[in-house]
Symmetry: D2
Subunit: 331 residues, 4 copies
């Protein structure tokens, strides 16, 4: 494949050592989501700057960087109101790996505004986790503040659920339950060794709440990374009064969830959602550096495994079998 | 009926000149909602103080007052976190007119913490509207801030929808559509003479959005006072990206609404809800006084009509026929 | 003077019919503030698009527009955290009229991200007010929410104080006092005919509070547009408990204000500040359109007067003498 | 001394094993602050319930509890707007130990709304720290959200500064500097063994920033627990653009601090303050339980030491000499 070239004044060319496989990539491959034809996939990546356009001042050749995948138009109603991630021609509508060539390749071309330097404390593999980490922090900024004693249910123990649990634990929350139907994923969660973390099969959770008045004793936060419309139906009734349901997983576009508008009102709960990232990447890097220094961002424990690019089918299989939580493709 | 008597140190006895009929009262009567047996209904009221307990200092005999209907325990998890309206033994669980005797009577006994003095600019009829007004402000505080240019859909043109439109108009919003299936209610809305207000039948709204990309051109706020689970399904798809759905109407307890969790996430919208009132009654009085002085709180235009207490069946019939938006019972 | 030319892909050339004189312009002229040598002043402007660069899609030749004066780098810590107005190489550090040529000229070159279309309801003079209007809304977004019953003191009755009063009145606030030492400016404020507005000399205000416990009966919001370090000292003690002091005026760089840190804590008040604008220009245009349609943005009443460009010294004199609140230069 | 007796329906009598000495107690003793004559001091306490009034349902005899020191009137403008700690007849105006008898005694009478049960994981000494812990969390709720990468200066290394550092560290912040002039207090801070914590003398901090552009490289948060008006003057210039100064220490009532209103505006910084506690006590207990279980709330490391009640003069001397950060009086 041809190496892309710096053309525009703010272009930056990155040499890519590794890039993550996101659940959405699998959707793109399997379900033929609407993305650009023949685009190179890969929107979770870090790398080394090898060339810059004439107006680039924030990075220089040789810098180790992580990248947000989207750019922004700077002139639409969303950009002009501080929500550039919803920009109709930017954000995920212009992601590397969806609508511009991504990072499952030796090189990737980005705009300088996408880049964040990473310290030597951080490996490229951790750097390639900054996009999901930033998305996780974006959701945090949407439902904050969260009381210190919050009872938290994390639905889904993929890499998003695990990062979420790790970040919340690092921020001092201790009443966290991960709920996951796949045994392999539950095993990874248990292996994370987060003090106080409870790991459960959905049936246990549902059963536990059969005879409980959830308005008083339910969860204060349910973070749903399942991508299952059924999960939303199952977990929504478990909210305590005043609580928040945070939708993070991407459900099938035509799926519907059936919920009680009476409960919604009676408990005065909120249903929020979090789409990609907004103003959180820089803090994701900072947080990851702190966690890494404290030994709290151990990729092996988190179930992150690296594969040579050509073995991506093996990686997909391991993901499907839940022996890993995240595959990194290395080149 | 016996006149209730001041017993506790903070009790206050009110002489009641008028009290509103709330949609929930009709539910209580028709559908036998779970309220206290033989309770006197009426949770929207104003009156004159006639007696006070020995520890009452904030009001005295002769004061004209409006009242919040609920009290609070001051020691539960909700009271201790600034959400006393969710208190399991307070808030609506201890409302006058639901679980304590209410104001469809000559006298009503309340706690001093429920009371707010009203100026002579305000009639008792306006005073009896302060409970719904405060609920409307409570919802405002939950979804705020709302950008000045927000495109707003108010679903339902009962008194709540009309108060909502009036308050938003008074606060400078001009892109407001009221959507209502009943001709009589639409007529009342038109009669309110709010500059720029659009009044539509639901079919017009649905049709208008058939060929529109609502993610870019939908509503920024949908305020749902319909109490219809179907309305939630119909209007939810009309949200613009980043927008808010505010559930205010009380749907049947067993009804379900079927919504798309993909849209929820893809548009990054919020579904919020607003249950009764919290810390808003004092401002409701202040706002109502300002609006009244400016001629912007005209009960006749709003479709509010007074009936002698013994004619409450006529009042209910007029409400059902949508020739009025709110009935006040006078004694 | 040469007409500037479109060079960069996102450049837009505007024909300028009028531009405002800002208090900061006068500082620049009199006190030789640090701005670019020989820069053309004028950062409050509207105009007509006459030429666009090849990547501009949001405006086209012939469009009537208003402009934010600053651009942003999109990659600094402030841009990456949603505060681009604090960008060290953008925001006011790259304002037209300070560090790039501004609009006291026939033409002005801007970046497409600075532009907002205005409807035909809005004159260019009103369009040229959108920069200060947006700054006023920026301050609103910082101290919001403000309770409906808030008691508000606006210190200074220049155009900023008058716009602030007009906007707050349009948003439903009625307990507003403008405090201003110059008779001419007080006369303009009175002439605005905002219902309920109180206009006072500072001595009256200070005297009024001599014997009052301000912790209970002071102001809930003090908006300081005086640019006087002494005013801050005088008005700060007038805050009620829980209130907010919003610093908006630009004081001399070396001036100090002496305040009581005990009062700060004991009353638990906030001292906030508002620098230029951030994500508010689009709403300023929308709000101005609504106000103009309602007859609530009458430039003559507000004391705004237009002068031919060559008469700018007369304009400055009228400003100094307080016979006007704002001068517009027309070409 | 006579044992107080349960009189009112919501009274609760506590047996007090220990109570803290607060800096404000020392002010009361030395400077004759305006408190109730002959009041028993002590507003930081935990204890065991020994008697309850007839309407008390949230605790029973034998319960181990911690207490907020204030009650509230429930009907003033502050109580009715969710800020009961500012209540003119409640909050600190009705604190045990200031205006009602406090806990430097065998028994203390409180209202049931003040009480929070503590688990057996928590000693009474830790329980008696919940009042300052809650105040620390109250300040956190006021300046939140705080970005993960925030650069934080804590001015003052008394128990408040140390608790603040401990809580922020537990919540994942790692760029924290404690600045303290007394060697003994600095030693206690170092002994806390918080990873990454920097401990400095004020002169080092001031010197460090002599040649630095603080608008870009200053602190994002300065938490001032010094009680010194001079400290406010010294540290205020060290704020980065967009940053927050949180005033927590009680300065002498007549002291003034001289700050630059130009800097305030130019950097768009906030000056906030935090007075006692509001809706945070329950979370303080929860957070303390979590920290204690993780070994992150070690009273010895924090410099907390217990003394028999009759040795309170020794305790005061040790506090003055900075060999301890907090004295607990035991009975």
């Amino acid at each position: 494949m041809d190496i892309p070239r710096v053309v525009k004044p703010n272009d930056v060319l990155l040499k890519i050592p590794c890039a993550g496989i996101c659940g959405s990539d699998i959707h793109c491959i399997k379900n033929k989501w609407l993305i650009k034809d023949n685009v190179v996939l890969g929107h979770e990546f870090a790398g080394t700057v090898v060339d810059i356009g004439p107006e680039v001042t924030n990075v220089k050749a040789g810098d180790r960087v992580t990248a947000a995948a989207g750019t922004h138009c700077h002139h639409c109603r969303f950009c002009h109101r501080g929500k550039p991630h919803l920009c109709p021609t930017g954000g995920s509508a212009n992601y590397n790996g969806l609508f511009r060539d991504g990072a499952w390749a030796d090189y990737c071309l980005v705009e300088n505004s996408q880049l964040f330097k990473i310290s030597d404390d951080i490996t490229f593999e951790v750097g390639a986790l900054m996009e999901p980490m930033s998305c996780v922090l974006h959701s945090f900024s949407i439902y904050s503040p969260l009381q210190d004693s919050a009872s938290i249910l994390i639905a889904g123990s993929g890499i998003i659920g695990l990062l979420k649990a790790s970040v919340l634990h690092y921020k001092g929350f201790r009443d966290i339950t991960i709920c996951e139907p796949m045994q392999g994923r539950r095993d990874i969660a248990k292996n994370c060794q987060l003090s106080g973390l409870k790991v459960a099969d959905p049936s246990e959770i549902i059963e536990k709440y059969t005879d409980i008045d959830t308005s008083l004793d339910g969860y204060d936060l349910i973070f749903d990374s399942t991508g299952s419309s059924k999960a939303f139906e199952d977990y929504f009734p478990l909210l305590r009064k005043g609580a928040t349901y945070m939708m993070f997983g991407i459900c099938p576009p035509k799926a519907k969830s059936s919920i009680s508008p009476y409960d919604l009102l009676n408990k005065e709960v909120k249903i929020l959602s979090s789409n990609t990232e907004c103003n959180t990447h820089m803090d994701a890097v900072s947080l990851a550096e702190n966690m890494a220094r404290d030994g709290k961002l151990d990729l092996e424990k988190l179930g992150v495994k690296s594969y040579p690019l050509e073995k991506y089918e093996t990686a997909l299989k391991d993901l499907t079998n839940a022996t890993i939580s995240k595959a990194m493709l290395t080149v």
